[in-house]
Amino acid sequence: MKEDLVSDTLLRKFLLAKVDADERQRIERLFVTGVMPRERVIAVEEHLIDDYLNDSLSREDKESFLLQYANTPSQQRKLRIAATIRDWAKGQANIGDSRKPRSLSLASLRQWIITKPFWVVPMAVAATVVIVVASVWSIRNSQDRRPLALLEQQVQQLNDYGSAGNMLARTSFTLSPVSVRSAERQPEVTARSEHRIVELRLLWMQKQQYPSFRAMIRRTGDNTPITIRNLKVEADGVTAVRLLLPAAVLLRGPYEIELNGVNAEGVTGASDEYDFLVTDQADPR
């Protein structure tokens, strides 16, 4: 078979693991024998990474991409490094346009860490999240949606590795679904400056039970939610889904959460809505 028969579109599908076993092996053979130039694979792979970091992949492709390229800690690390290089290049290019330096906030955070070495290790997860969060929220009205994917990834990690989050100072709130709360006041969430993590316990009052849940959180009025998957139920007297958020992400104002049950096949089922009001913003410094 000729290399010509592997179009860029097919190569992209191959890299996203969307081809059958025979096609996969055919392409791998062409690759390993050098019949298909490696540069082509590199180029298509690079486009994919760019598209992911620019948040321009379709939902389905994004899921496939994350399975292929962010499935292990080592791959996630490579992706973070790739993002760092691209951020640096874009930052340098824009340096004349804006004097608002990301490096200044990094420098102050670094100073803060240096003066409080005891906090260095437990702050590591939160620091990463806070930095990404800060950049995302500061540009959330711009055209650049790329960091949103990174933010989602970081918040996802915070929830995936809950044990790491346990080391961080946190404040916890229990929220009932809007439908159940009826005329009660909107719950208020206040994170004081020492709290790095806000833990939301979302009460699940529905009969249907699910192995995992998906939460979509947005500030009321914002178009794009942050989606956190694979959240688990905690059955500690009451059934609740625990959602961890970096305190710095929460700006003063109302928020909405849509929580969906997800069955074993990955299909979303019943949902509930929650809302809360952030009354004081956490100070990340």
Partner: protein, 194 residues
């Protein structure tokens, strides 16, 4: 990344001779082959692709003296065949282990993400950039400078300015980026371990 192999020297000689009679050319093919196999393992979700690549070389080394006299065709396909067997074995192992993995064990914290911060990455990036020549630094900066909408036009202009094709530019940028990424990874490892 090619690791030190336990392959006896005479077997390695046979492998290289099989890949190409010219020893230098054979060494280049060998290194490229190891990279390619590692990539294939990664594409197939195999845990520790580098170790599996080593395993391919070890298995080929054990068989090379039998296969060499009669084998016809591109020897790299023989390596690939062994790699495919390993992928199948890996898949089978993963399936039999799934029930154990499904047990709700406490999640081991991801040490890397826990200890590595954006600050560390930025520091490592700055340090690694210093190790690049100014020319390479400028190229990687110019290559990634623009947002998606203007990327294609920007890269095409950059290739024109450098007097090379877009494909050559892509390869050049890829090589620099790979060097940079490897350097950052090594730097992060050092920071995390100290």
């Amino acid at each position: 990344m090619v690791r030190y192999s336990t392959v006896p020297l005479e077997h390695l000689d046979q492998i290289l001779g099989w890949l190409n009679p010219d020893r230098e050319a054979a060494a280049l093919i060998y290194v490229q082959l190891c990279h390619d196999l590692t990539k294939i393992f990664a594409w197939n979700h195999c845990h520790d692709p580098e170790a599996l690549t080593d395993e391919v070389i070890d298995r080929v080394a054990r068989k090379v003296h039998e296969v060499l006299p009669t084998y016809e065709g591109d020897p790299r396909l023989f390596f690939y065949g062994i790699a495919r067997n390993l992928i199948r074995e890996n898949l089978k192992r993963a399936k039999t282990q799934v029930s154990l993995e499904a047990i709700d064990l406490p999640l081991a914290p991801d040490i890397q993400s826990e200890e590595e911060t954006a600050i560390m990455r930025e520091e490592c990036l700055q340090s690694c950039l210093q190790q690049l020549t100014a020319e390479k630094r400028d190229l990687i900066l110019a290559y990634y400078a623009k947002e998606k909408q203007s990327t294609i036009q920007n890269r095409s202009q950059l290739a024109d300015r450098l007097g090379i094709s877009s494909q050559s530019l892509r390869v050049r940028a890829h090589r620099i980026r790979t060097t940079l990424e490897d350097c950052i990874e090594a730097c992060l490892d050092q920071k995390v371990n100290t």
